[in-house]
């Protein structure tokens, strides 16, 4: 009996390590409240602090939309994002627009061109677990016409 239990624990642990790599969060409630009304919560770990700073300084002109916030929540979310941000150069946005979908890492994983009528910013179009911040391969469902990498 004890052995079964032990095997169970090891198995669950192994599973969570395996799956854990592409799971993110949980994040502070405020981040979800303020940054997930118009799109999924983007994992802070997938962009550098400089990228997040730029996003947070231009919320009034946010990729063509007004996403402005009061000073209080703005400062709180900025601090959280910068604390949690990636420190790796491959996650730095390569364009002035500060998109995490335009970093070297992202383009390496996803290629240059999204499938017809899909924006790369629309993560849940392919990652069905994106609302739950789950980017593991199990949740992938690729739209027709999508050739990843090397296109």
């Amino acid at each position: 009996m004890k052995r079964v239990w032990m095997v169970g624990v090891v198995w669950v642990f192994a599973l969570s390590v395996w799956a854990g790599e592409h799971r993110y969060g949980p994040y502070p409630k405020l981040y979800g409240q303020e940054c997930a009304s118009c799109h999924v919560v983007y994992p802070p770990e997938l962009m550098t602090a400089a990228g997040w700073r730029q996003v947070m300084q231009q919320l009034g002109k946010h990729y063509g939309s007004d996403a402005s916030l009061d000073a209080g929540p703005q400062a709180e979310i900025s601090a959280f994002l910068e604390r949690q941000a990636s420190r790796r150069a491959k996650h730095a946005p390569t364009e002035a627009s500060a998109r995490l979908s335009r970093s070297n890492w992202f383009v390496h994983e996803h290629g240059q061109t999204p499938p017809p009528k899909v924006s790369f910013a629309h993560c849940e179009a392919c990652h069905t677990g994106a609302e739950q911040m789950d980017y593991s391969e199990r949740g992938l469902r690729l739209p027709a016409g999508y050739r990843q990498r090397g296109d």
């Binding site: 118009c38 799109h39 990729y63 007004d66 996403a67 402005s68 916030l69 629309h122």
Partner: protein, 133 residues
Amino acid sequence: MKFLLMLLWALSTPILANTGVAVQIQARLAAEARAADATFQGFSVQRGEAFYRDRHGDWSCATCHTDHPAKGGRHAVTQKAILPLAPSANPERFTDPKKVEKWFKRNCNDVLNRPCTAREKGDFIAYILTVRP
């Protein structure tokens, strides 16, 4: 009988409570509208509906909140689902004045390229409160 009354009360409270906040917001907006224009005669459901549907440039309010705001909508750029805007279908709506103001600021700016006037906001709320599922 008493039970029925209790049941009625229980069912109606959330609706009352939440139109309550909308009515408070309306009262504040009416004062603002009167201050801006002495001939202001009160808000209008018809004007509110027209405002809701009119395109100003590319978008109208209906672009994301649908032709019938008791239905769920979709964000025009990101396709993300948006819960219904009409309180009759979504009792969370118009229960938090700060949230309402935050979205007026953003969405008016996106649709009209300017802030909405107090009259436009009041007309819009007058309309949205009449929408039934």
